[in-house]
Amino acid sequence: MYNFEFTKPKTIKDAAKALAADGAQALGGGQTLLPTMKQRLAMPETLVSLTEVDGMVGVDSRGTGLTIGGATTHAQVASDAADVYPALAGLAAGIGDPAVRNRGTIGGSLANNDPAACYPAAALASGATITTNKRDIHAVDYFQGMFETALAEDEIITAVQFPIPQAGNYQKFVQPASRFALVGVFVAKTADGVRVAVTGASGSGVYRWTAAETALNSDFSAKAIEGLSDDPSEMITDLHGTAAYRAHLVGVLTRRAVTASR
């Protein structure tokens, strides 16, 4: 690890100011950034910790949906969202291990946008809004490819607003080593229709499987998509599975998610 400066601002304003400096880097739970720094693959001059910024931690279900502070840990989402949005809480409970879940944050995960992370699937399927210190970004506009998002350099995810679907479920098939999603599928049945978001499979990151959505809109059952499989041509092949295997898993997991949707 290279030497770096460390700051822990208490307000969004101070955090944004610190992040505007050259070589500054936001630090959420550090579950990706710190290992990268330990391997000397990243050398930020200043780490701006977001964990003590006022108002960025918590799960609020008082409105119509669920608002989760950007610095809220996976463990807290797993416990505090369990009654209101069990599919999302289940997803959070399945990320990493207890140590990861007690450090890693929803804002950190979404800002990093790892193509095999779980939260992007939840955000895209739920039709979430990513709130930053500058604006609201709809999930459709937010995810822009592998590790790419709509965030500007000094933009901080302060909260994520999840509309709660009529029914939903997340199915993850783990990559055996990292236990990230080899393929993960989030199905959300909403008043506006069914959304199927897939993570882990595509080199471009999370995406919606529209063919399945169409079929499920007319019949929300596993049977409706029996035999339907996604196009493997844009999918990842690596030592854990071929594109064809991932495409196959997308079908299997979508059917399972539909069946398990509550």
Binding site: M1, F173, P176, A177, S178, L239, H240, Y245, L249, V252
Partner: protein
Amino acid sequence: MAADGGMGHATKRREDVRFLVGRGKYCDDYVPAKTSYCAFARSTVANGKIKSINTKAAAKMPGVVAVFTGDDFVEVGGNPAGWLINSRDGEPMKEPKRPVLAHGKVRHVGDAYAAVIAETREQALDAVEAIEADIQELDAVVNMADALANTKTLVHDEIGTNQCFDWGWIEDNRAATDEAIKNAPHVTTLELVNNRLVPNALEPRCSIGEYDPGTGDYKLTTTSQNPHLTRLLISAFVMGIPENKLTVHAPDVGGGFGSKIYHYGEEALVLAAAKKLNRPVKWTSTRTEAFLSDAHGRDHVTKIELACEKDGTFIAFRTETMANVGAYLSNFSTATPTFLHGTLMAGNYTVPNVYVNVKAVFTNTAPVDAYRGAGRPEATFSLERVIDKAARELGINPIEIRRKNFIKPDQYPYASAAGLEYDSGNYDALMDGLEKLADISGFEARCKESAKNGKLRGLGINSYIEACGIAPSNLVGVLGSRVGLYDAATVRVNATGNISVMVGAHSHGQGHETAFPQIVADMLGVDPMSIEIVHGDTSKIPFGMGTYGSRSLAVCGSAVFRATEKIIAKATLIAAHMMEDKPDNVDFDAGEFSVKGTNKKVSFGEVALKAYIPHDFPLESIEPGLEETAFYDPANFTYPSGAYGCEVEVDPETGKVDICSMVAMDDFGTVVNPLIVTGQVQGGLAQGIGQALLEHGIYDENGQLLSGSFMDYAMPRADDLPNLVVDHSHATTCTHNPIGAKGCGEAGAIGSPPTVVNAVVDALQRGGFDVEHIDMPVSPARVWAAMNE
């Protein structure tokens, strides 16, 4: 007999207390005054010509005190292979030099070509980045078949080939085996890969070099499974430091699994640097460095043929194997695929013909050497997979085909067709035990239950034999070993009656500090807690050969036994003197000496005190003191064996395998501490299941390690494992060591991989899929691909 805590008692491991509360003292916990820190520049290419290394900028970096390159070690020796193998044509193996730091060429990703010593670790790492190395990347040799066929791209130009040796075992049996297979009514053939594994001990390697300019003494504190071997290699081969001027100390070590048997260049470097700088030099491996530079395990490609009668009677086994030795010969890399592998290729069976051919191959990958099981898992996997396939082809139950060919209890000692003499065993008893404990008769019902849940259930059966406590020295010498394979122990009874036992074996998870005292306590009739084990420091212990090959109890434990016998013999003389009678009239039992037919008695403690306060000793016949040393060189290997059973469920939609049950029925001979033995088997099973389902050290065609971190290299975790059922009650004792013990450290890792794969193939066959084999790791992707081919 000790009242409590003696032989056979399930005593909890006393050393665990300090480990569990964080009071273990590992190498990295040692920080001598004025310690400097070492970091290595390692190759990022698999094969490259070193055109120049400019260290000027690095040397000027803050805190840097020295920079070394391969040029600094041209004059010193290379790290040798410990075993000379001759090829079938009689030619000795190719043995290219393994330098302390790469010189002229780098030969694998992670090959160290320079080292920086600085005031802090971070400064050393910063300076490594300032080294300007001009390394011309060359084509890499990764695939073994390509390496043998390709004579243009060589790992070592000076030997003119990528083949280290072409070994036949037993060469004189080759023609008869070929003939038997040619004429056999049925021949089953299987091609399989034994996947490369990265050992990944919890504690990465760490070495600290110290030099005392006043005395000229060196000290190496290092993560080693056998400090005396490391000292011998450094002294006799690499650096020429006299053995009596070099102490090697391996303190608490957090696991080895084979990877810490060997001497590594980093150890020589910190010693050389410590002398040059006149201050301690420390290097602690990162996990990344461990992936790239620790000796890996397995990596065989094998074709095996089993010839048999139509009734399943075995006629012959014949194998052709390519064994990867990586870029350099690690210390036991040549013994592992040969004498620890080929000699086991008759298994538990009365097969009359066996022939094994092994070609060892250099590639631009990390060195490959012994890893938990070392050759025997490879042998067992090949045998037990092809037997399963033959059983299916012949329509014979997999248990029955094994029983039909088992060596029977009245056939011992049994000379196997692969050249070993098995001393004892009872494989049918083990299989009986397995059938009962694993409830094999209830399998069909469980299979139906699984089917109701949409899962394919399979049953895997395996029987294994292994050879532990590699020995005897006079035989291994004939076979090419460059070291002896005895072990040693000194039992020192102190004046106040407590006891220190200095042993040559090293404990890094095996529980020696608990088990060895049980032997001594049992023999002397004293409290085991009054006995302390000293190990790991060459300045304190007799010359021993360390810990590997499940040898500690069978070999070093026997040395402890012999030394304790000597203690009893001398204590008897002292007791006879004290009781004024002849030694022949003195009995010793439960810690008390007595004169036959009288009420005269003295306790062991009184004798110990007298030994050190010999005011009235007949010094012409009894020396003062009570301390004895024994070196024990076994008469033969020991032969643990077992019958394993495993049930799996395969998800036909995803290919995911869940292990529902794993039962290990082992014969380890006499068990000193059943709790430790159970733990050893459980650990071995976890590693074997890891190999079967999860682990894979995989290089791409350019020699880059794709699974070079825990993000891609899947270690087994608790939730990957079923409840592990372990039983070692069906024991036959080893006939040639005084304890009767056979060794338990590797069994689980040897017996479980074919058990799991047999179960997966069985599940797929029962599910109607024509799948004969899936290479390990049997990942979901591979199972799904096999089902959909």
